[in-house]
């Protein structure tokens, strides 16, 4: 696979602030809706613009970080709601303290960590990652967290451990979405052990330098940027080293559509929609999706000699 330079993958028209984007859209909508007397468009409030001003943060391809407002108000988190904008209000009282994470299974040193220990005992780093949702939208998110590998080394996986299984809190009183019988709760996800040991895989505790908000998976979530967003499980309470490949919630819910690997690949479409392009939140139009979400150099070795997209009919 040829690595495309960032100058080629980013069409020039996409560098627009949200406000400008809405203005530009106004020309199109006003034209298409045949509006004549809608009055003057109110000018942007200076506060709003300051809030959306560039933070100077960008990913390694030079694309700016998505606004904090967008990251914290547009969330796929079915434990609270299937409506992305309802997650933030519904999760605002979610209890993230006290919180413990049980790390066990096929390990020599099983241990239950307090969330504060995880924050203090592991150096917190900033990682600016692209997040590509399987629904074909994407963001750039400045996470704070630490490599999953560091935690795994501490518990010392046994030789027979092949996979890592993650589990979200199960608490239907706090997470009303878990009453929906549609899915097998609690949310579960998995990685192959060598994927989990890759330096890109982190456990995130914050974003934009602040503690994670409940809607983003507080207090602890996974971030595996070369895979579709649903692999990055939120509100983790349990991490198990296992021998058998774990079955994730999405694999159980729709086995024909969601596979175990779920690596981002513009050439393998979701059975029902294209994955060739994506809509970057805050931009107008679409941009091409990158192989492994742009992390091919870092992760391609994991899949040498195998087809990481072939374990289910499509879109794995």
């Amino acid at each position: 696979m040829i690595r495309i330079p960032s100058s080629e993958i980013t069409p020039e028209h996409v560098y627009l602030s949200r406000r400008e984007f809405l203005k530009q859209m106004g020309i199109v909508t006003a034209g298409s809706l045949l509006l004549s007397a809608c009055g003057a468009k109110p000018t942007a409030s200076p506060q709003a613009d300051a809030g959306e001003a560039a933070t100077g943060l960008a990913d390694e391809l030079g694309d700016p970080a998505t606004s904090y407002e967008a990251i914290t108000n547009y969330n796929n988190y079915y434990e609270f709601s299937t409506d992305k904008e309802s997650v933030a209000p519904l999760s605002k009282d979610f209890q993230t303290s006290p919180w413990t994470v049980e790390v066990g299974g096929l390990v020599n040193n099983p241990k239950t960590y307090d969330i504060d220990d995880l924050r203090q005992n592991f150096d917190q780093e900033e990682r600016i990652y692209r997040l590509r949702c399987v629904e074909a939208w994407s963001m750039v998110i400045p996470w704070t967290g630490f490599p999953l590998a560091k935690l795994l080394k501490e518990v010392d996986p046994k030789p027979e451990a092949k996979y890592v299984r993650f589990e979200t809190l199960y608490d239907p009183e706090q997470m009303p979405g878990q009453n929906a019988g549609w899915y097998v709760w609690p949310y579960a996800e998995g990685l192959r052990l060598d994927e989990a040991m890759n330096d890109l895989a982190i456990l995130a505790t914050g974003l934009y330098g602040k503690d994670l908000m409940p809607q983003n998976g507080a207090p602890l979530r996974l971030a595996v940027p070369w895979k579709y967003g649903f692999k990055s499980i939120k509100a983790i309470v349990k991490i198990d080293l296992v021998e058998e490949r774990p079955v994730s919630l999405w694999m159980a819910a729709a086995p024909r559509e969601y596979g175990f690997y779920s690596n981002v690949n513009p050439e393998v479409d979701h059975p029902r929609w294209s994955q060739a392009t994506e809509r970057r939140i805050g931009e107008l139009g679409r941009r091409p999706t990158l192989m492994f979400n742009g992390y091919e150099e870092e992760v391609a070795y994991l899949y040498e000699g195998m087809d990481p997209f072939a374990d289910v009919p499509a879109n794995s």
Partner: protein, 213 residues
Amino acid sequence: MPVFKFTRFQIAVHIGSLIPLSLLLWDYFADNLTVNPIQDITFRTGKAALVLLVLSLACTPLNTVFGFKPALKVRRALGLYAFLYVCLHFLTFVGLDYGFDLGLIYEAIFEKRYALVGFAAFLILLSLAITSTQGWMKRLGKNWKRLHRLVYLAGLLAVVHYVWLVKSDIREPLTYGAVVGLLLVARIPVFKKGVMKFRGGLIKRLEAEKRIA
């Protein structure tokens, strides 16, 4: 000078049909279209189109089953409003979303079944909208009715389009599907005759009771 006379019901239908568009414009100017505005506009125009299409399909059964005649007077308006939202929905898709990139649009429409059925529904509604005038009714004669029966197909395609779009919980689109199915059943001649007979009997009986009283 022609005087346009609208009943209150008709005015309500026109206002109601324009509410989704008004809300959309309001939210646009209030900068309230979520952080993924294109998706929001696409969903909202699509939903409005589907609801209005179902309502226009409901007009005839409302008359045959419940004897609600005013429904017949708003059937065309509802259908055309549905088409208006379908146009906005389609324009959002090809213009705002895909920037009129014909290659991408071609790929999206013809390689993805959800888009293909949506496009088919659009073509059907386009032909129905064009032939919705009195002139075309006269020109097509008996064929007009046949042609316009395709609206049920458009409704079913729209529901399928919706079902194929959602990630997993298809209860809502299936609800629309059930409604369209019911409305379709209400048009089956046997069923329709049965209902009309029953209603006729009922009216006669009520009138007889009135006379006795």
